[in-house]
């Protein structure tokens, strides 16, 4: 096989089963690509020895005609996932040197099914960001560049290492997490597919917590099929996470290609926001036409509380983050800065260990939860959240899925939005409501902007109805026939 790293996850799986390639060859090819792609800064830790060991073990199984659904397939793991004895920092200075004594449930599921770990992928510090610029280990560079420009662009965030690595061919697929759009927006910015499952579909155990009522694990892959395969292994009930659902995991791959004739698709009118570029609007219209041509019926629906989703999120998420991040105190793991007493030690450790965005959110969260403000902010936000969820429930009494753009723009330049937290937050306008309501969503690459950057369309589904979501996403993918790929300028 000439170019092993051009295969999809499904293609590599089939080639391994037919013994056309070996996992050792495939894994070796990826490690070589990763080395050549250092300028992208997608990986923060490379586990080359472990990868080759796992690949050899997979080859032994495959040779005997054995092995799991992901046997011998090399993956990248977002640094938010705890990996046993492998450095896990959530890309925060405060977790310096942390090597977990346990494995996250989702990654354990992947290894159970035979996957190979290539290394840990960069992300925004504690997943707080939309551009991967808040990582303690520096920005990730998007493999895509604007036509005729060598300006460095962001890969989206917080799963920017995952999206860049999949787009640049540095892993077959990657794990990611999504609290307000952190899987779907980076997928849209890099021409990849990002699937955020229903809250509770995947266990959160062993994933560094940001906002526990919003966080959900999911995959980023080259195409819809690859994310369906990944989800099949990642999902499942876990006694260690009470919010994980005790429900059978369907065969997601089996639904791909099934007819969407008669599927009812809703177009939320409130998603036509002011100042949205014309080309995003046109892409959306094309998406509607594609689904109609495939036999779906399309109708406008209303989600009246959409404009309140972002402000609600920026109360709920910081509140939960300020509670979750209370554990970083310099006592049990990571960084410690000594002080003259224990409080001084806590304060100095946390001042040195948290970056600017994390500090901003912890302070914001502490404020909205503090005495006298709890009702005005946190309780109010949780009530508005109920209304946002109700809007979706009403829409889903009329339609089966919703179609929207994934993000209000294509990838922007590194440094372009870092001075203004609010303008950065607005990036998540179409993705945040989905997390607030706990619904599944997927971003599918659907076209290029006028300056040659990928743009994504988002589908939103009913609770635990990833199958309909994937079926519709596959129809969009077939119609869009998105074949563009970034030039490998980083190898020059």
């Amino acid at each position: 096989m000439s170019d092993l790293t051009k295969l999809t996850l499904a293609g590599a799986r089939d080639a391994l089963k037919k013994k056309e390639i070996t996992s050792t060859e495939l894994t070796g090819a990826y490690l070589k690509e990763m080395e050549a792609a250092a300028p992208l800064n997608a990986y923060v830790t490379v586990t080359a020895d472990k990868a080759m060991e796992m690949a050899k073990a997979s080859d032994a199984k495959l040779a005997k005609g054995e092995g799991g659904p992901l046997e011998g397939l090399p993956l990248g793991i977002k640094d938010l996932y705890c990996t046993k004895d492998v450095l896990t920092t959530a890309c925060s200075h405060i977790l310096d040197g942390f090597k977990p004594a346990y494995e996250s449930t989702v990654t354990a599921n992947l290894w159970r099914d035979g996957a190979v770990m290539l290394g840990k992928l960069n992300n925004d510090e504690f997943a707080m960001g939309s551009s991967n610029e808040t990582s303690h280990y520096g920005s990730v560079v998007n493999p895509w560049r604007r036509k005729g420009s060598d300006a460095k662009l962001v890969p989206g965030g917080s799963s920017g290492g995952s999206s860049a690595a999949v787009a640049a061919g540095l892993c077959l697929a990657a794990t990611a997490t999504d609290t307000g759009g952190s899987i779907r927006q980076p997928a849209a910015f890099t021409g990849t597919v990002g699937l955020k499952p229903t809250y509770g579909r995947c266990s959160r155990w062993g994933i560094v917590a940001f906002a526990s009522s919003l966080d959900q694990a999911g995959p980023i892959g080259r195409d819809v099929r690859d994310t369906a395969i990944m989800l099949g292994s990642m999902a499942g009930h876990d006694e260690k996470d009470t919010t994980s659902v005790d429900r059978a995991v369907p065969d997601y791959e089996a639904v791909l290609g099934q007819s969407i004739k008669g599927l009812s698709v809703g177009i939320p009118k409130e998603y036509r926001v002011d100042g949205m570029p014309g080309e995003i609007d046109e892409l959306w219209t094309r998406g509607i036409e594609w689904l109609k041509a495939a036999g779906a019926t399309v109708k406008e629906v209303s989600l009246p509380h959409t404009k309140y989703a972002l402000p609600t999120y920026y109360i709920v998420a910081p509140a939960e983050c300020s509670s979750n991040l209370a554990r970083y105190d310099g006592v049990r793991y990571g960084l410690r800065v000594d002080g003259h007493d224990i409080t001084d030690m806590y304060e100095k450790t946390r001042a040195a260990g948290f970056g600017a965005e994390v500090r901003r959110r912890v302070l914001m969260g502490t404020y909205v939860l503090s005495a006298g403000y709890y009702d005005a902010y946190y309780l109010k936000a949780q009530k508005v959240r109920s209304l946002i969820a109700r809007d979706f429930a009403e829409a889903f009494s009329e339609v089966d899925v919703l179609l929207t753009p994934t993000a209000p723009s294509a990838a922007f330049a590194i440094g372009e939005k870092t001075d203004d937290p609010l303008s950065m937050y607005l990036n998540d306008v179409f993705t945040v409501p989905v997390n607030l309501a706990g619904l599944p969503g997927i971003s599918v690459p659907a076209g290029l902007s006028s300056d040659g950057l990928p743009l994504g369309l988002q589908l939103i589904g009913r609770t635990f109805d990833e199958e309909t979501l994937l079926k519709a996403a596959y129809a969009i993918e077939q119609a869009a026939d998105f074949k563009a790929a970034p030039e490998a300028w980083w190898k020059a």
Partner: protein, 95 residues
């Protein structure tokens, strides 16, 4: 509602994050920017609306209260910046 520098100092103390005096003004400005923006939630009529407590409607699962794993002292303390004899070491807290 807007926060002044004294309030920022107070919440930084609650959050156990040391903040230098020369950072207070900029932090107050940033937090006020965000707070002004979230203030728009006041427009929403939420009378009679229950706050959302669970992202997906599921009944709380119960399990028997039994010890599932035990004696992980070495694993638990091995990442500590400072530990001795299987205990965490911190600055003296009792006079």
């Amino acid at each position: 509602m807007s926060v002044d520098q004294k309030t920022v100092r107070h919440i930084a103390r609650l959050a156990r994050i040391a903040v230098r005096d020369d950072e207070l003004e900029a932090l107050a400005k940033e937090l006020n920017g965000i707070l002004d923006w979230v203030e728009q939630l006041g427009e929403v009529d939420t009378s009679g609306v229950e706050p959302m407590t669970s992202a997906v409607a599921v009944a709380m699962k119960m399990r028997d209260d039994v010890v599932a794993v035990q004696n992980l002292q070495a694993e638990v303390t091995r990442n500590a910046p400072n530990s001795e004899d299987g205990f965490y070491v911190v600055p003296k807290v009792v006079e």
